[in-house]
Symmetry: C2
Subunit: 407 residues, 2 copies
């Protein structure tokens, strides 16, 4: 079996953490100077591993194996959320690189190979999964033209020009080349840690249905308008959210989550009855039937609220992704690899967060694997995983790929 | 009886509406160029009426009658809310001026007199009732030092310097001089209009108890955090506001109002469970017992929410005024005046909004009178009152003052 080199895995991860180091984490937004440097360094590591490495016109990196036999694609992303953790996407990139190196170094496996992909902007500083969508051919030039950094306001085109990559073509996947795609990631939650487990095998990446709830009432003086004549948009919104809170637990799935992330009242003054109110409301589940059921319920709660005639409520579904179901043969390979290296310490679970793998799953059999995150922390500079878990995860990841390639 | 001059009342109101004219209303923030000009003009009108007029060190104007006999104080404010109505406080200033002129012109009443007061910043561009509080001796230099314009950030001291009034003393009331204080205002609601009435006689100005509700939970990923482990600050706030909505109608008074004017979730992102939430919540009633009862209930709802242990809820009472009860003999004078000029078309009612009169009531017997506002609109440039109602109100206001002065 291709054996990974634990020190090389940890050393590469620690080197990556120096690009944009922030406390014990990193601040490495997409196409920032530190992100560009991290990409250049990683491309160099791919080249050292005899993986012909190219950075393309959207900042994606593809390192290609010269092995003659079957190949898988593996990888993740290098940029971070602002002031976030050192592992997140970097872990999946280093695991992919290590799998490629270990498989190439073992005479028993060197006829097969791993291509390593680093997708740009999974974290959405400029848009939504721009890198992986570009790679599978689901990103039009027009959307890229309009991509702006949410913080700096710089266009992605301009940022790519600064990096020196703007004149390059955007690489497209050759699906015929691969048996499948593997991505590793820290778990963004504490399921593994709280159960004392080491490996999470992702069955599906949940769909996210994002809504905007709007309420139109009548702005009025908070002192002189009797309760009976008010058309308080804020209060109607609170009542609707209360109705969701009462009803959804009765009809949701076992792992459904729903979240009101933002509420805004207009004008938002202490002595003015809000004339308008708005909320961002989100549903996540891996079962389309559950999502449909909750969507219908949401619409009927809204209808009921509108029927009383006090305010006019609106519901806009801003986006509705489909769940990305992982490939059963690849999952079985991960099961076997995990059982061999960590008997009884693995579990199948959905991913509540989005990943590049959900886009790759549209063109390749795809699987994802999680390692434990201490305290379940993610997207924060305190995010961490023990060295032992990092090393174990790299070996299980490599074993599963070998399993698939040598099958 | 002292008869007002309808054309003079309407002409003065229309002239005032030219200072900061905005559509059919005015934009005349406290100590803006247009507000300073309006004050200078009004002081000039007081002087023309033989009322020795002075603008003091906080922008208050006092016009003093030279009549030898009893006197009342009457007035209101000249500045407006942003892009607001032409009548609001200007109405009360012109009614006071007209009462002074009509009483001085009538041989039967010229031995008594009306002092006219214009209080600065009732609308709170710089603080809370700074002018009327200064006049009754309830404003310390330190608070004035700290008064900043909410929009421009300019200090009130600096704005007074621009006006040329910063070196003047602040005038203080001589309570011995007056039988009472009268203020007129448009009704900021549609009680009069909807009942076909012409005059509202204010029994009390409600107290406002202002609260800040805070919830501390735990910020987390909206995809990877199961519903059962969430400590969602926004959801706990929605539940508390729902509990208030369910309980308060059972225990409030007949005219109590309560309002959540602002809700903020932190960080306010669609995919992040809010770690903190905050709301501005306000109670108004003219009965201290009702306010106490609702305050106790609010605290006990909060205790109950804290007892479930999901989040930590806090309740801060930012301010708590006392209801200002109007003076019965002055109210009776208004009743008689209204009944004589508009038989059966007047009503006693509380004021749900705050006015300078609530501060004057601490030192003088005080009364307030409302005229109808078309559609109940206030604090908006479409605010309006028919000419006939404006004229009728001026006469009733003057008659009531004569009644009190000649009693």
């Amino acid at each position: 079996m291709a054996e990974i080199q634990p020190e090389r895995v940890l050393s590469d991860l620690r080197t990556l953490a120096t690009f944009g180091a922030y406390k014990s984490g990193v601040h490495r937004p997409t196409l920032s100077a530190q992100d560009i440097a991290a990409r250049e360094w990683f491309a160099g590591r791919l080249a050292e591993a005899d993986l012909g490495a190219a950075i393309d016109g959207i900042g994606n990196i593809l390192g290609k194996s010269a092995a003659p036999g079957r190949k898988v694609l593996a990888g993740s992303h290098l940029e971070s959320q602002n002031y976030a953790g050192w592992l997140d996407g970097a872990l999946g990139c280093v695991y992919a690189l290590e799998a490629a190196r270990a498989i190439a170094a073992d005479p028993a496996t060197r006829q097969v190979g791993v291509d390593v992909a680093v997708f740009c902007d999974e974290e959405g500083h400029f848009g939504s999964f721009l890198g992986s969508r570009s790679f599978i051919g689901s990103l039009e030039e027009r959307e890229l033209d309009g991509a702006l950094n949410r913080v700096t306001g710089m266009t992605m085109r301009e940022a790519l020009k600064v990096a020196g990559w703007s004149d390059r073509a955007r690489l497209r996947i050759d699906p015929e080349r691969y048996t499948g795609f593997f991505e590793a990631h820290i778990e963004q939650g504490d399921t593994l840690e709280s159960l004392g487990l080491k490996i999470g095998i992702v069955t599906a990446i949940v769909a996210i249905w994002q809504y905007r709830l709007t309420v139109e009432g009548e702005q009025n003086h908070a002192g002189t308008t009797a309760m009976s004549r008010r058309r308080d948009a804020g209060l109607e919104l609170v009542r609707l959210l209360g109705a969701i809170d009462a009803r959804f637990p009765e009809i949701c799935g076992p792992r459904t989550v729903w979240t009101t992330g933002r509420i805004e009242l207009d004008p938002g003054e202490k002595s003015i009855i809000p004339g308008k109110a708005e909320a961002l409301f989100q549903l996540r589940d891996s079962d389309p039937a559950v999502l449909d059921r909750l969507d219908r319920e949401l619409n009927s709660l809204l209808e009921r609220a509108n029927a009383n005639g006090v305010c006019r409520l609106g519901l806009e579904r801003i986006s509705a992704s489909t769940p990305a179901v992982m490939d059963e043969p690849l999952l079985a390979a991960l099961d076997r690899a995990a059982e061999a290296r960590a008997p009884g310490k693995h579990i199948r679970m959905p991913s509540g967060a989005g990943h590049d793998a959900q886009w790759l799953a549209r063109t390749l059999p795809t699987a994802m694997m999680f390692v434990p995150s201490i305290g379940g922390v993610s997207h924060h500079w305190t995010e961490n995983t023990s060295d032992a878990d990092l090393v174990l995860g790299a070996q299980v990841f490599t074993d599963a790929i070998v399993d698939v390639l040598m099958a």
